[in-house]
Amino acid sequence: MESFRKIYSSEFHKKFLAHNVRPDGRSLDDARNTKISVNSFGSSNGSAFVRIGNTHGSQKLGGGGGDGTSVTCAIVAEVGPPTDATPNGQIIVNVEMTPICSSRFRTGKPTEEAQALGHWLNELVRSPHHLSLEDMKVKMTRHEAVEDDEEEDSLPGMVWYLYADVYCINHDGSIGDAALIALFSAIQNVRLPQLVVTKENQMIAMPIDASSGRINILHHLVPTTFAIIDEQVLVDPSAEEEELSSGLLTIVTRSDGSLVTIRKSGGTSLDDEKLKQCMKTAAERCKTVEKEIKSQR
Protein backbone atom coordinates (compact mmCIF):
# COMPACT_ATOMS: atom_id res chain seq x y z
CA MET A 1 0.00 0.00 0.00
CA GLU A 2 2.66 2.47 1.03
CA SER A 3 4.99 1.29 -1.70
CA PHE A 4 2.18 1.82 -4.16
CA ARG A 5 1.77 5.37 -2.94
CA LYS A 6 5.47 6.03 -3.33
CA ILE A 7 6.01 4.45 -6.74
CA TYR A 8 2.79 5.40 -8.49
CA SER A 9 2.01 8.55 -6.54
CA SER A 10 0.02 10.22 -9.29
CA GLU A 11 -2.06 7.09 -9.91
CA PHE A 12 -2.56 6.81 -6.19
CA HIS A 13 -3.91 10.32 -5.90
CA LYS A 14 -6.01 10.04 -9.03
CA LYS A 15 -7.85 7.05 -7.59
CA PHE A 16 -8.88 9.18 -4.65
CA LEU A 17 -9.59 12.35 -6.59
CA ALA A 18 -11.90 10.44 -8.92
CA HIS A 19 -14.14 10.05 -5.88
CA ASN A 20 -13.70 13.69 -4.83
CA VAL A 21 -11.81 12.72 -1.74
CA ARG A 22 -8.16 13.13 -0.78
CA PRO A 23 -5.84 10.54 0.77
CA ASP A 24 -6.01 12.28 4.15
CA GLY A 25 -9.80 12.06 4.18
CA ARG A 26 -10.54 15.67 3.28
CA SER A 27 -12.90 16.60 0.50
CA LEU A 28 -11.51 18.91 -2.21
CA ASP A 29 -12.78 22.15 -0.65
CA ASP A 30 -11.87 21.23 2.88
CA ALA A 31 -9.01 23.27 4.41
CA ARG A 32 -7.02 21.94 7.29
CA ASN A 33 -7.48 23.40 10.76
CA THR A 34 -5.33 26.38 11.68
CA LYS A 35 -4.05 26.74 15.22
CA ILE A 36 -2.14 29.77 16.45
CA SER A 37 -0.28 30.33 19.66
CA VAL A 38 1.43 33.62 20.36
CA ASN A 39 4.27 35.06 22.43
CA SER A 40 5.91 31.68 22.91
CA PHE A 41 9.38 33.19 22.80
CA GLY A 42 10.12 35.71 25.52
CA SER A 43 13.45 36.56 23.93
CA SER A 44 11.72 38.38 21.09
CA ASN A 45 9.43 41.41 21.00
CA GLY A 46 6.55 39.42 19.58
CA SER A 47 6.17 35.94 18.23
CA ALA A 48 3.67 33.43 16.91
CA PHE A 49 3.57 29.75 16.13
CA VAL A 50 1.16 28.53 13.48
CA ARG A 51 0.21 24.97 12.72
CA ILE A 52 -1.99 24.04 9.79
CA GLY A 53 -3.36 20.54 9.98
CA ASN A 54 -3.04 17.76 12.51
CA THR A 55 -4.34 19.98 15.26
CA HIS A 56 -6.47 17.11 16.44
CA GLY A 57 -5.68 13.44 15.74
CA SER A 58 -6.43 13.50 12.04
CA GLN A 59 -7.01 10.32 10.08
CA LYS A 60 -4.00 9.24 8.17
CA LEU A 61 -3.66 6.61 5.52
CA GLY A 62 -0.45 4.72 5.03
CA GLY A 63 1.37 7.11 7.33
CA GLY A 64 3.63 8.51 4.59
CA GLY A 65 4.52 12.18 4.46
CA GLY A 66 2.10 14.74 5.76
CA ASP A 67 1.71 15.76 9.31
CA GLY A 68 0.65 19.35 9.01
CA THR A 69 2.68 22.47 8.26
CA SER A 70 4.17 24.38 11.16
CA VAL A 71 5.83 27.74 11.08
CA THR A 72 7.11 30.10 13.70
CA CYS A 73 7.69 33.81 13.37
CA ALA A 74 9.43 36.06 15.88
CA ILE A 75 10.14 39.75 15.72
CA VAL A 76 13.15 41.51 17.18
CA ALA A 77 13.05 45.29 17.34
CA GLU A 78 16.21 47.24 16.66
CA VAL A 79 16.83 50.97 16.62
CA GLY A 80 18.21 53.02 13.78
CA PRO A 81 18.01 56.49 12.24
CA PRO A 82 15.11 57.18 9.88
CA THR A 83 15.76 57.52 6.15
CA ASP A 84 13.76 59.31 3.47
CA ALA A 85 12.24 56.06 2.30
CA THR A 86 11.56 54.80 5.80
CA PRO A 87 10.61 57.81 7.96
CA ASN A 88 8.70 55.57 10.34
CA GLY A 89 11.00 52.59 10.37
CA GLN A 90 10.38 49.37 8.61
CA ILE A 91 9.52 45.72 8.95
CA ILE A 92 12.13 43.41 7.46
CA VAL A 93 10.90 39.90 6.78
CA ASN A 94 13.17 36.94 6.10
CA VAL A 95 12.06 33.37 5.58
CA GLU A 96 14.30 30.57 6.73
CA MET A 97 13.52 27.20 5.23
CA THR A 98 16.24 25.23 6.95
CA PRO A 99 16.91 21.56 6.21
CA ILE A 100 14.98 20.68 9.36
CA CYS A 101 11.62 21.19 7.66
CA SER A 102 11.95 19.00 4.59
CA SER A 103 14.45 16.73 2.90
CA ARG A 104 14.31 19.05 -0.09
CA PHE A 105 16.41 21.68 1.64
CA ARG A 106 20.11 21.54 2.39
CA THR A 107 22.35 23.78 4.48
CA GLY A 108 23.78 26.76 2.68
CA LYS A 109 22.30 29.76 1.04
CA PRO A 110 18.52 30.16 1.16
CA THR A 111 16.62 28.45 -1.63
CA GLU A 112 14.88 30.48 -4.29
CA GLU A 113 11.59 29.37 -2.82
CA ALA A 114 12.50 30.93 0.52
CA GLN A 115 13.78 34.13 -1.08
CA ALA A 116 10.68 34.51 -3.23
CA LEU A 117 8.38 33.94 -0.30
CA GLY A 118 10.35 36.44 1.77
CA HIS A 119 10.07 39.02 -0.96
CA TRP A 120 6.34 38.50 -1.29
CA LEU A 121 5.82 38.85 2.48
CA ASN A 122 7.94 42.00 2.56
CA GLU A 123 5.80 43.55 -0.14
CA LEU A 124 2.57 42.76 1.65
CA VAL A 125 3.74 43.94 5.03
CA ARG A 126 5.25 47.21 3.80
CA SER A 127 2.11 48.29 2.03
CA PRO A 128 0.62 51.24 3.95
CA HIS A 129 -2.90 49.94 3.46
CA HIS A 130 -2.64 47.13 5.96
CA LEU A 131 -0.32 48.36 8.69
CA SER A 132 0.37 51.76 10.14
CA LEU A 133 3.87 52.36 11.43
CA GLU A 134 3.21 55.98 12.33
CA ASP A 135 2.98 55.41 16.07
CA MET A 136 6.22 53.55 16.01
CA LYS A 137 8.52 56.35 17.26
CA VAL A 138 11.17 55.30 19.72
CA LYS A 139 10.59 56.62 23.23
CA MET A 140 13.92 57.40 24.87
CA THR A 141 14.89 58.91 28.19
CA ARG A 142 18.18 59.49 29.96
CA HIS A 143 19.18 57.26 32.81
CA GLU A 144 19.83 59.29 36.02
CA ALA A 145 18.61 62.53 34.54
CA VAL A 146 21.54 64.69 33.63
CA GLU A 147 21.57 68.20 35.08
CA ASP A 148 22.58 69.81 31.84
CA ASP A 149 19.40 70.69 30.01
CA GLU A 150 21.15 70.94 26.66
CA GLU A 151 22.11 67.27 27.00
CA GLU A 152 18.44 66.41 26.93
CA ASP A 153 18.14 67.47 23.33
CA SER A 154 21.12 65.53 22.17
CA LEU A 155 19.12 62.31 22.08
CA PRO A 156 18.76 61.63 18.38
CA GLY A 157 15.38 60.88 16.83
CA MET A 158 15.35 57.19 16.17
CA VAL A 159 12.85 54.78 14.65
CA TRP A 160 12.22 51.08 15.04
CA TYR A 161 13.34 48.51 12.53
CA LEU A 162 11.55 45.26 13.14
CA TYR A 163 13.29 42.10 12.00
CA ALA A 164 10.66 39.42 11.48
CA ASP A 165 12.20 36.00 10.96
CA VAL A 166 9.93 33.24 9.79
CA TYR A 167 11.30 29.77 10.54
CA CYS A 168 9.67 26.88 8.79
CA ILE A 169 9.56 23.88 11.13
CA ASN A 170 7.64 21.36 9.08
CA HIS A 171 6.96 21.84 5.39
CA ASP A 172 3.76 20.05 4.50
CA GLY A 173 2.34 22.31 1.83
CA SER A 174 0.70 25.76 1.84
CA ILE A 175 3.77 27.19 3.53
CA GLY A 176 2.92 30.70 2.34
CA ASP A 177 -0.40 30.58 4.16
CA ALA A 178 1.22 29.56 7.41
CA ALA A 179 4.00 32.14 7.02
CA LEU A 180 1.68 35.08 6.40
CA ILE A 181 -0.67 34.10 9.21
CA ALA A 182 2.29 33.73 11.57
CA LEU A 183 3.73 37.05 10.47
CA PHE A 184 0.51 38.97 11.12
CA SER A 185 -0.11 37.22 14.43
CA ALA A 186 3.40 38.10 15.52
CA ILE A 187 3.10 41.74 14.41
CA GLN A 188 -0.18 42.00 16.27
CA ASN A 189 1.60 40.97 19.46
CA VAL A 190 4.71 43.10 19.17
CA ARG A 191 5.40 45.22 22.24
CA LEU A 192 7.93 48.00 21.82
CA PRO A 193 9.76 48.88 25.04
CA GLN A 194 10.74 52.27 26.41
CA LEU A 195 14.42 52.95 26.05
CA VAL A 196 16.82 54.38 28.58
CA VAL A 197 20.19 55.81 27.61
CA THR A 198 23.04 55.54 30.08
CA LYS A 199 26.07 57.75 30.57
CA GLU A 200 28.14 55.52 28.26
CA ASN A 201 25.49 55.88 25.56
CA GLN A 202 24.26 52.34 26.04
CA MET A 203 20.66 51.95 24.96
CA ILE A 204 18.73 49.78 27.35
CA ALA A 205 15.25 48.41 26.80
CA MET A 206 13.01 48.61 29.86
CA PRO A 207 10.74 45.71 30.78
CA ILE A 208 7.43 45.61 28.94
CA ASP A 209 4.61 47.38 30.75
CA ALA A 210 1.27 48.98 29.96
CA SER A 211 2.92 51.97 28.28
CA SER A 212 4.85 49.85 25.77
CA GLY A 213 3.97 50.59 22.19
CA ARG A 214 2.05 48.39 19.81
CA ILE A 215 1.72 48.29 16.05
CA ASN A 216 -1.53 49.39 14.58
CA ILE A 217 -2.88 46.72 12.23
CA LEU A 218 -5.53 48.21 9.97
CA HIS A 219 -6.52 44.97 8.32
CA HIS A 220 -5.60 41.37 8.83
CA LEU A 221 -4.55 39.52 5.70
CA VAL A 222 -5.50 35.88 5.30
CA PRO A 223 -4.12 33.82 2.44
CA THR A 224 -5.51 30.59 1.02
CA THR A 225 -3.54 28.36 -1.31
CA PHE A 226 -5.09 26.11 -3.95
CA ALA A 227 -3.42 23.36 -5.97
CA ILE A 228 -4.49 22.57 -9.50
CA ILE A 229 -4.28 18.86 -10.31
CA ASP A 230 -5.58 18.06 -13.77
CA GLU A 231 -9.02 19.67 -13.88
CA GLN A 232 -9.53 19.72 -10.16
CA VAL A 233 -8.80 22.42 -7.61
CA LEU A 234 -7.74 21.41 -4.13
CA VAL A 235 -7.81 23.89 -1.28
CA ASP A 236 -4.90 23.98 1.21
CA PRO A 237 -2.76 21.28 -0.44
CA SER A 238 -0.29 19.07 1.43
CA ALA A 239 3.33 18.80 0.31
CA GLU A 240 2.59 15.65 -1.67
CA GLU A 241 -0.31 17.30 -3.48
CA GLU A 242 1.76 20.39 -4.22
CA GLU A 243 4.37 18.21 -5.85
CA LEU A 244 1.81 16.56 -8.12
CA SER A 245 0.02 19.76 -9.02
CA SER A 246 0.52 21.58 -12.28
CA GLY A 247 0.04 24.96 -10.67
CA LEU A 248 -0.53 26.76 -7.37
CA LEU A 249 -2.84 29.66 -6.70
CA THR A 250 -2.74 31.83 -3.60
CA ILE A 251 -5.54 34.27 -2.88
CA VAL A 252 -5.08 36.84 -0.12
CA THR A 253 -8.19 38.43 1.27
CA ARG A 254 -8.66 41.14 3.84
CA SER A 255 -10.76 41.07 6.97
CA ASP A 256 -13.35 43.37 5.33
CA GLY A 257 -13.85 40.78 2.61
CA SER A 258 -11.99 42.57 -0.16
CA LEU A 259 -9.36 40.92 -2.31
CA VAL A 260 -5.74 41.91 -1.73
CA THR A 261 -3.66 39.90 -4.13
CA ILE A 262 -3.63 36.78 -6.23
CA ARG A 263 -0.47 34.87 -6.92
CA LYS A 264 -0.47 32.04 -9.38
CA SER A 265 2.35 29.81 -10.49
CA GLY A 266 2.45 27.03 -13.07
CA GLY A 267 1.39 27.10 -16.67
CA THR A 268 -2.10 25.67 -16.49
CA SER A 269 -5.09 27.87 -16.98
CA LEU A 270 -8.06 28.13 -14.71
CA ASP A 271 -11.53 29.03 -15.91
CA ASP A 272 -13.65 31.85 -14.53
CA GLU A 273 -16.10 29.63 -12.75
CA LYS A 274 -13.38 27.83 -10.81
CA LEU A 275 -11.61 31.06 -9.91
CA LYS A 276 -14.82 32.52 -8.53
CA GLN A 277 -15.35 29.37 -6.52
CA CYS A 278 -11.82 29.67 -5.14
CA MET A 279 -12.38 33.28 -4.14
CA LYS A 280 -15.52 32.31 -2.31
CA THR A 281 -13.70 29.56 -0.43
CA ALA A 282 -10.88 31.99 0.39
CA ALA A 283 -13.30 34.58 1.77
CA GLU A 284 -14.94 31.96 3.95
CA ARG A 285 -11.62 30.71 5.28
CA CYS A 286 -10.55 34.30 5.96
CA LYS A 287 -13.34 34.71 8.48
CA THR A 288 -12.46 31.62 10.53
CA VAL A 289 -8.72 32.29 10.51
CA GLU A 290 -9.12 35.97 11.35
CA LYS A 291 -11.21 35.04 14.34
CA GLU A 292 -8.44 32.70 15.45
CA ILE A 293 -5.77 35.41 15.03
CA LYS A 294 -7.75 38.04 16.90
CA SER A 295 -8.49 35.65 19.74
CA GLN A 296 -4.74 35.41 20.30
CA ARG A 297 -4.26 39.02 21.21
Binding site: M1, V21, G25, G63, G64
Partner: protein, 221 residues
Amino acid sequence: MQNGNQSLVCPGERLGHTDTFESGEGTYILGNYVHASVIGAREETAGKDGGKTLLSVKKEKEPSIVPDIKSIVTARVTRVNPRFVNVSILCVGDRVLREPFAGMIRQQDVRATEIDKVEIYKCFRPGDIVLAEVISLGDSRSYFLSTAKNELGVIFAKSVAGATMVPTSWESMMCPKTKTKEFRKVAKGASLSSSINVNCTTVTLLQTKTDLLNTTQCLRR
Protein backbone atom coordinates in the same frame (compact mmCIF):
# COMPACT_ATOMS: atom_id res chain seq x y z
CA MET B 1 2.25 0.63 22.96
CA GLN B 2 -0.65 -1.74 22.59
CA ASN B 3 1.30 -4.42 24.47
CA GLY B 4 1.21 -2.29 27.56
CA ASN B 5 4.01 -0.45 29.27
CA GLN B 6 5.52 -3.60 30.74
CA SER B 7 7.05 -4.73 27.49
CA LEU B 8 8.02 -1.31 26.10
CA VAL B 9 11.78 -0.91 26.12
CA CYS B 10 14.21 1.89 25.34
CA PRO B 11 17.65 1.73 23.72
CA GLY B 12 20.33 0.60 26.13
CA GLU B 13 17.93 -1.28 28.36
CA ARG B 14 19.22 -4.65 29.55
CA LEU B 15 16.87 -7.41 28.39
CA GLY B 16 18.42 -10.69 29.50
CA HIS B 17 21.50 -12.84 29.96
CA THR B 18 23.16 -14.40 26.92
CA ASP B 19 23.01 -17.81 28.65
CA THR B 20 19.28 -17.96 28.13
CA PHE B 21 18.66 -15.55 25.28
CA GLU B 22 19.87 -14.97 21.80
CA SER B 23 20.06 -11.53 20.21
CA GLY B 24 17.48 -10.84 17.50
CA GLU B 25 16.37 -7.81 15.53
CA GLY B 26 16.55 -4.52 17.42
CA THR B 27 18.98 -5.81 20.03
CA TYR B 28 22.74 -6.07 20.54
CA ILE B 29 25.04 -7.92 22.90
CA LEU B 30 27.36 -6.14 25.30
CA GLY B 31 29.26 -8.22 27.81
CA ASN B 32 27.00 -11.06 28.82
CA TYR B 33 23.72 -9.30 28.28
CA VAL B 34 21.32 -8.64 25.46
CA HIS B 35 20.40 -4.95 25.25
CA ALA B 36 17.72 -3.16 23.26
CA SER B 37 18.93 -0.90 20.46
CA VAL B 38 15.59 0.68 19.50
CA ILE B 39 12.40 1.82 21.17
CA GLY B 40 9.70 -0.80 20.92
CA ALA B 41 7.95 -3.84 22.33
CA ARG B 42 9.99 -6.72 23.70
CA GLU B 43 9.30 -10.00 21.94
CA GLU B 44 10.41 -13.50 22.81
CA THR B 45 10.41 -16.33 20.29
CA ALA B 46 11.05 -19.83 21.55
CA GLY B 47 14.24 -21.24 20.03
CA LYS B 48 14.23 -24.31 17.79
CA ASP B 49 15.00 -27.70 19.39
CA GLY B 50 15.08 -26.28 22.88
CA GLY B 51 17.78 -23.74 21.96
CA LYS B 52 18.06 -20.29 23.44
CA THR B 53 15.03 -18.02 23.28
CA LEU B 54 15.34 -15.36 20.59
CA LEU B 55 14.91 -11.88 22.01
CA SER B 56 13.93 -9.12 19.66
CA VAL B 57 12.50 -5.63 19.92
CA LYS B 58 9.70 -4.77 17.56
CA LYS B 59 9.86 -1.12 16.61
CA GLU B 60 6.89 1.10 17.20
CA LYS B 61 7.00 2.73 13.82
CA GLU B 62 8.63 2.08 10.47
CA PRO B 63 12.31 1.83 11.27
CA SER B 64 15.01 3.57 9.31
CA ILE B 65 16.33 1.21 6.71
CA VAL B 66 19.11 1.15 4.13
CA PRO B 67 19.49 -1.34 1.25
CA ASP B 68 21.50 -4.41 2.21
CA ILE B 69 23.06 -7.24 0.23
CA LYS B 70 20.43 -9.77 -0.91
CA SER B 71 17.50 -7.47 -0.29
CA ILE B 72 14.95 -7.10 -3.08
CA VAL B 73 14.42 -3.47 -4.00
CA THR B 74 12.01 -1.53 -6.17
CA ALA B 75 13.68 1.15 -8.23
CA ARG B 76 12.97 3.68 -10.94
CA VAL B 77 15.26 3.82 -13.98
CA THR B 78 16.81 7.26 -14.30
CA ARG B 79 19.47 6.93 -17.00
CA VAL B 80 20.39 4.34 -19.60
CA ASN B 81 23.66 3.84 -21.44
CA PRO B 82 25.18 0.84 -23.30
CA ARG B 83 27.06 -0.51 -20.31
CA PHE B 84 24.73 0.08 -17.38
CA VAL B 85 21.53 1.72 -16.21
CA ASN B 86 21.26 4.11 -13.29
CA VAL B 87 18.29 3.67 -11.02
CA SER B 88 17.04 5.31 -7.88
CA ILE B 89 15.99 2.84 -5.23
CA LEU B 90 12.57 3.68 -3.80
CA CYS B 91 11.64 0.67 -1.66
CA VAL B 92 13.54 -2.05 0.15
CA GLY B 93 11.37 -5.15 0.46
CA ASP B 94 7.96 -3.77 1.32
CA ARG B 95 9.37 -0.79 3.21
CA VAL B 96 9.43 2.61 1.62
CA LEU B 97 12.60 4.67 1.74
CA ARG B 98 12.06 8.28 2.69
CA GLU B 99 14.75 9.36 0.32
CA PRO B 100 16.03 7.44 -2.70
CA PHE B 101 19.43 5.75 -2.87
CA ALA B 102 21.34 5.51 -6.13
CA GLY B 103 21.77 2.08 -7.70
CA MET B 104 23.23 0.67 -10.87
CA ILE B 105 22.45 -2.41 -12.97
CA ARG B 106 25.48 -3.26 -15.07
CA GLN B 107 25.26 -5.01 -18.42
CA GLN B 108 26.48 -8.34 -17.02
CA ASP B 109 23.88 -8.31 -14.24
CA VAL B 110 20.79 -7.88 -16.36
CA ARG B 111 20.08 -11.56 -17.01
CA ALA B 112 21.53 -14.93 -16.13
CA THR B 113 22.13 -16.29 -19.64
CA GLU B 114 23.96 -14.93 -22.68
CA ILE B 115 25.41 -12.18 -20.59
CA ASP B 116 27.61 -10.79 -23.35
CA LYS B 117 24.73 -10.41 -25.78
CA VAL B 118 22.71 -8.13 -23.54
CA GLU B 119 21.64 -4.92 -25.22
CA ILE B 120 20.72 -2.51 -22.49
CA TYR B 121 18.37 -0.51 -24.72
CA LYS B 122 16.27 -3.63 -25.24
CA CYS B 123 15.95 -4.18 -21.50
CA PHE B 124 15.22 -0.88 -19.78
CA ARG B 125 14.00 2.61 -20.56
CA PRO B 126 14.08 5.66 -18.26
CA GLY B 127 10.99 5.79 -16.10
CA ASP B 128 10.53 2.02 -15.82
CA ILE B 129 9.90 0.55 -12.41
CA VAL B 130 12.25 -2.37 -11.79
CA LEU B 131 12.38 -5.12 -9.21
CA ALA B 132 16.03 -6.02 -8.50
CA GLU B 133 18.30 -7.66 -5.99
CA VAL B 134 21.22 -5.91 -4.28
CA ILE B 135 24.40 -7.84 -5.08
CA SER B 136 26.97 -5.56 -3.48
CA LEU B 137 27.32 -2.26 -1.69
CA GLY B 138 28.94 -1.11 -4.91
CA ASP B 139 31.23 1.86 -5.32
CA SER B 140 31.19 5.22 -3.64
CA ARG B 141 28.19 6.35 -5.67
CA SER B 142 25.74 3.53 -6.17
CA TYR B 143 24.68 0.09 -5.03
CA PHE B 144 25.13 -2.68 -7.60
CA LEU B 145 21.86 -4.39 -8.46
CA SER B 146 21.01 -7.46 -10.50
CA THR B 147 17.92 -8.55 -12.38
CA ALA B 148 19.41 -11.95 -13.32
CA LYS B 149 16.48 -13.96 -12.03
CA ASN B 150 13.16 -14.82 -13.60
CA GLU B 151 11.10 -12.94 -11.08
CA LEU B 152 13.24 -9.82 -11.34
CA GLY B 153 13.11 -7.14 -14.00
CA VAL B 154 10.68 -4.50 -15.20
CA ILE B 155 7.34 -4.61 -13.42
CA PHE B 156 5.83 -1.38 -14.67
CA ALA B 157 6.52 0.52 -17.85
CA LYS B 158 4.79 3.07 -19.99
CA SER B 159 4.81 2.88 -23.76
CA VAL B 160 5.83 5.66 -26.10
CA ALA B 161 2.12 6.50 -26.33
CA GLY B 162 1.98 6.89 -22.57
CA ALA B 163 -0.13 3.85 -21.68
CA THR B 164 0.79 1.23 -19.10
CA MET B 165 2.09 -1.77 -21.01
CA VAL B 166 1.20 -5.43 -20.55
CA PRO B 167 3.87 -8.11 -20.64
CA THR B 168 3.73 -10.49 -23.59
CA SER B 169 6.90 -12.52 -23.01
CA TRP B 170 9.96 -12.38 -20.75
CA GLU B 171 11.58 -9.92 -23.11
CA SER B 172 8.76 -7.82 -24.53
CA MET B 173 5.74 -5.81 -23.49
CA MET B 174 2.84 -4.50 -25.51
CA CYS B 175 1.10 -1.17 -25.48
CA PRO B 176 -2.67 -1.67 -25.13
CA LYS B 177 -3.38 1.53 -27.10
CA THR B 178 -1.25 1.17 -30.21
CA LYS B 179 -0.64 -2.59 -29.97
CA THR B 180 3.09 -2.00 -30.63
CA LYS B 181 5.62 -4.19 -28.91
CA GLU B 182 8.53 -2.78 -26.95
CA PHE B 183 11.52 -4.73 -25.61
CA ARG B 184 12.03 -5.01 -21.88
CA LYS B 185 13.65 -7.43 -19.42
CA VAL B 186 10.27 -8.33 -17.93
CA ALA B 187 9.90 -9.79 -14.46
CA LYS B 188 8.05 -13.09 -14.39
CA GLY B 189 4.63 -12.68 -12.87
CA ALA B 190 4.91 -8.94 -13.20
CA SER B 191 1.54 -8.71 -14.87
CA LEU B 192 -0.08 -10.75 -12.20
CA SER B 193 1.54 -9.14 -9.18
CA SER B 194 1.10 -5.58 -10.32
CA SER B 195 -2.50 -5.99 -11.41
CA ILE B 196 -3.35 -7.80 -8.20
CA ASN B 197 -1.57 -5.08 -6.33
CA VAL B 198 -3.60 -2.41 -8.08
CA ASN B 199 -6.86 -4.32 -7.67
CA CYS B 200 -6.26 -4.87 -3.98
CA THR B 201 -5.44 -1.25 -3.54
CA THR B 202 -8.54 -0.09 -5.33
CA VAL B 203 -10.68 -2.25 -3.10
CA THR B 204 -9.01 -0.98 0.03
CA LEU B 205 -9.21 2.54 -1.25
CA LEU B 206 -12.90 2.34 -1.92
CA GLN B 207 -13.48 0.87 1.52
CA THR B 208 -11.41 3.50 3.22
CA LYS B 209 -13.12 6.16 1.23
CA THR B 210 -16.55 5.17 2.44
CA ASP B 211 -15.16 4.92 5.98
CA LEU B 212 -13.69 8.35 5.73
CA LEU B 213 -16.77 9.94 4.29
CA ASN B 214 -18.77 8.45 7.13
CA THR B 215 -16.38 9.83 9.71
CA THR B 216 -16.31 13.25 8.14
CA GLN B 217 -20.05 13.32 8.12
CA CYS B 218 -20.09 12.26 11.74
CA LEU B 219 -17.63 15.00 12.58
CA ARG B 220 -19.68 17.60 10.75
CA ARG B 221 -22.72 16.66 12.74
